[in-house]
């Protein structure tokens, strides 16, 4: 055919197509106006001149597999038509979004990689609707999330992002608690017959923790394990003391927010074994520095007292809002000799 003849051919036949290649290598052609609805494809065509032939097919991001591409193109095919009413579009969207959670997540990822914002909005809304109002266990089940946080971590509000003495103090306390739990676990496994019923009330426990006689033996372990750190800490101890107060308020406070979430965790956790995970390094980068072995410490008694008071104060504040948690931790120790928590005339 001569060029003149070509020019006479009706435009409907000469529909332009864009060539797209998905991550698995398969190539397909798509009508231009539909494909250009996606900003990323639009950019590739206009800025880089890609997509005009099979050899120059636009490589789509890896999140876009053929199934997702087909869904996205369905969406574009409907919405790129200008004459549709809002009601029609909304109705289409409602039907379009009905799919299982797995595909919904994949679709969100694929749409985001193609920068198709309206579709990302739609899928985000659908995912939010799925999450809303559900308990954490349900959400984990739906999305197959690993339940890889320890009980304590679920209660921990802050990330130890800085080398902050208050946070170190807090971390140390957590490390102690974790150690206590671990040891209790070991003992529990060994001495399974002994059953001591701990029928102290919550108030008793609280007043015990708060230390009626000022000498809270319950924190003895943490005191005895203090070594090097405390020398440096003492210099900052006064400021840390003040700071811990504020810090404590934060940690206590968030727990009231998170508590509704974690109560669901704690209650079934009572009586079950707690997680014996080691402390994660990313949370406690300073762990190595105060690795407490069983080294006896040569502590100057006055310093020791000061530290005692600090930690006790801190612990009191930390624990004063968590009666349930204390009850859980303490109740785990009920079936064996309380090695670390000597009860001052309460209970045994």
């Amino acid at each position: 055919m001569s060029e003149v003849d070509m020019a006479v051919i009706k435009p409907e036949i000469m529909k332009s197509y864009i060539w797209l290649q998905t991550v698995d290598g398969s190539i397909q052609q798509v009508e231009q106006e539909i494909a250009m609805f996606c900003p990323m494809i639009c950019h590739e065509v206009i800025q880089k001149g890609m997509g005009s032939s099979k050899n120059y097919a636009i490589s789509l991001p890896q999140q876009v597999n053929p199934a997702m591409l087909s869904l996205i193109l369905d969406y574009c095919r409907f919405h790129q038509v200008p004459g549709r009413s809002n009601k029609e579009r909304k109705s289409f969207d409602e039907k379009f979004i009905r799919m299982d959670t797995k595909r919904l997540c994949e679709l969100t990822s694929a749409a985001d990689s193609l920068q198709l914002k309206p579709l990302v909005d739609l899928t985000s809304r659908a995912l939010a609707r799925i999450i809303e109002g559900k308990a954490p266990e349900e959400i984990r089940e739906i999305f197959h999330l690993p339940d890889d946080l320890t009980e304590e971590e679920k209660l921990e509000p802050l990330k130890n992002a800085t080398d902050d003495p208050r946070i170190r103090l807090l971390n140390r306390l957590y490390a102690k608690k974790r150690k206590e739990l671990k040891e209790r676990e070991k003992l529990k496994n060994v001495e399974v017959d002994e059953e001591l019923v701990d029928d102290r009330s919550v108030d008793d426990l609280l007043s015990f923790i708060n230390g009626d006689d000022g000498d809270s033996k319950g924190i003895k372990t943490s005191k005895s394990k203090k070594k090097n750190r405390r020398r440096k800490d003492l210099l900052k101890s006064t400021s840390a003391h003040e700071a811990t107060k504020n810090h404590n308020k934060e940690s206590n406070g968030l727990n009231s927010v998170c508590r509704s979430a974690e109560v669901g965790q704690i209650l079934p956790g009572v009586g079950a074994t707690t997680n014996l995970q080691d402390v994660e390094d990313d949370i406690f980068p300073n762990k190595n520095e105060f690795d407490d072995g069983d080294i006896d410490d040569e502590i100057d008694p006055t310093l020791k007292e000061k530290i005692d008071r600090e930690v006790e104060d801190f612990a009191r504040r930390l624990n004063s809002d968590w009666p349930e948690r204390m009850q859980e931790i303490l109740s785990l120790g009920q079936e064996k000799k309380p090695v670390h928590l000597s009860l001052n005339g309460k209970g045994s």
């Binding site: 969100t108 809303e132 959400i139 197959h144 946080l149 934060e250 927010v257």
Partner: protein, 432 residues
């Protein structure tokens, strides 16, 4: 749910079947932000216990909304609720990490002034774009001066507040939408506020104290919604204003003002509104417009006006005159709504033949939809409907809704008789 002994998995990579794969945690951060932003704040924060990856995802959500739906408190104790609320907001703000673009606080329980001040200070440091503050109880709340330093503000909505910006306040350069309801603000502050927000496109003002003369100098204003008590309104420099809804909540007495000012409120109102598209005249505003001289038609026709809604007392001569002037001045009107104002004192019916006279030289050439409501079947009202039906050749629908069931049979019978210029016209009668 059975209790499982949880062992830490040795490997991070899931060696499970494809169907069990966690697809959501690795979505890009901005997508997760979007998802979490759409949840009530409580659910969003709770996501921190889902898994290791989710611990801090909530902390970057860009919008924080604290309203009645956030929290379920079963307690009736006011101070308990208040403390809990304050506690929660404090902690969310403290633990939040990243820019906050939208902040909404709207809780029915009384909150302490210092608490709100503190929260506003916190968000003002965070390039905030939208602030909605609804103080349900208590006196008018005065936002601290740090609110006026938020130069990134695009939308500001205040309910039950007292506005007193600092002296150095130079306006919100990026503010596009301003919504002030139940506020106290002085005349100067109001004028300065409006004129110093050059990007302002939408202005809503309801129930305000302290401003009597509304002077609107806003070159980009498109939407204006106002209801309250004022003496005067004038638009300067509002070329783009296309949607106005204006209501004057106090009945002005024409006799008082009669002698002084003969200038036409109607003319002054429309002089700077060349592109008005939708106009709603509510409460007693038509009476205000009827003050002074009322021309038979506006000198510059409102050619873009296609929707007009007027609250009118059909028995009042001045109001009818003003309405007629308006109707003559919008040749392209497509939708009309006339709402009869129920008068408190049932004065002696001034039966006029206003709508019977032949005022009409042109027709409602484009009028398609009409709604007339709140009528009781008096002569002046029925005259108007008759007038309307016989002068609208392309009318598609006339909806009539009376104020009460009294006399509705008579009303309907009369309605049936009226001649209709449009062969397509449907006359729909709605129950009161």
């Amino acid at each position: 749910m059975s209790i499982v002994i949880k062992q830490r998995e040795p490997s991070r990579l899931p060696s499970k079947a494809d169907a069990e794969f966690d697809r959501i945690s690795n979505l890009p951060g901005h997508v997760i932000d979007q998802i979490l932003s759409r949840l009530p704040i409580r659910d969003a924060v709770r996501s921190s216990v889902l898994s290791r990856k989710w611990r801090y995802k909530w902390a970057t959500i860009p919008c924080l909304v604290f309203d009645n739906h956030c929290f379920n408190f079963s307690s009736q104790d006011q101070s308990f609720i208040k403390n809990k609320l304050v506690n929660i907001i404090d902690h969310v703000l403290l633990l939040h990490n990243g820019p906050i673009h939208k902040f909404k606080l709207s809780h029915r329980d009384l909150l302490g002034v210092t608490d709100i001040d503190r929260w506003i200070l916190c968000i003002s440091r965070s390039s905030i774009k939208e602030v909605v503050l609804e103080i349900w109880k208590g006196q008018r709340y005065k936002p601290p001066s740090c609110l006026f330093n938020c130069q990134n503000l695009i939308h500001l909505e205040l309910f039950n507040c007292l506005l007193k910006p600092p002296l150095m306040f130079k306006g919100f350069k990026n503010l596009k939408s301003l919504d002030l309801q139940h506020i106290t603000i002085t005349q100067d502050v109001f004028e300065k506020l409006i004129s110093s927000c050059p990007s302002l496109e939408r202005l809503t003002l309801m129930n305000f104290t302290g401003v009597t003369h509304l002077i609107i100098d806003a070159p980009n204003l498109q939407f204006f919604d106002i209801g309250g008590i004022f003496e005067d309104v004038s638009f300067l420099n509002t070329v783009h204003l296309s949607l106005i809804s204006i209501g004057l909540y106090v009945n002005i007495d024409n006799e008082e003002n009669g002698a002084q000012d003969n200038s036409s409120k109607l003319l002054r109102f429309f002089v700077n509104l060349p592109h008005i598209r939708r106009l709603e005249i509510q409460s007693y505003f038509l009476k205000y417009l009827a003050m002074g001289y009322v021309p038979s038609r506006l000198p510059n026709l409102c050619v873009d006006l296609n929707h007009l809604s007027i609250r009118i007392d059909f028995d009042d001569l001045e109001e009818n005159t003003a309405a007629l002037c308006l109707l003559r001045s919008c040749p392209n009107l497509q939708e009309l709504e006339m709402l009869a104002r129920p008068e408190e004192q049932s004065s002696m019916e001034r039966s006029t033949n206003f709508w019977e006279d032949d005022h009409w030289s042109s027709l409602f050439a484009h009028l398609r939809l009409v709604k007339v409501s709140g009528i009781s079947g008096v002569k002046s009202e029925m005259d108007f409907i008759k007038f309307l039906l016989s002068n609208s050749p392309v009318l598609e629908q006339l909806t009539v809704k009376p104020a009460s069931q009294e006399g509705e049979w008579e009303l309907m019978k009369e309605l049936l008789r009226f001649r209709r210029a449009s062969i397509y016209a449907e006359v729909i009668y709605l129950d009161p």
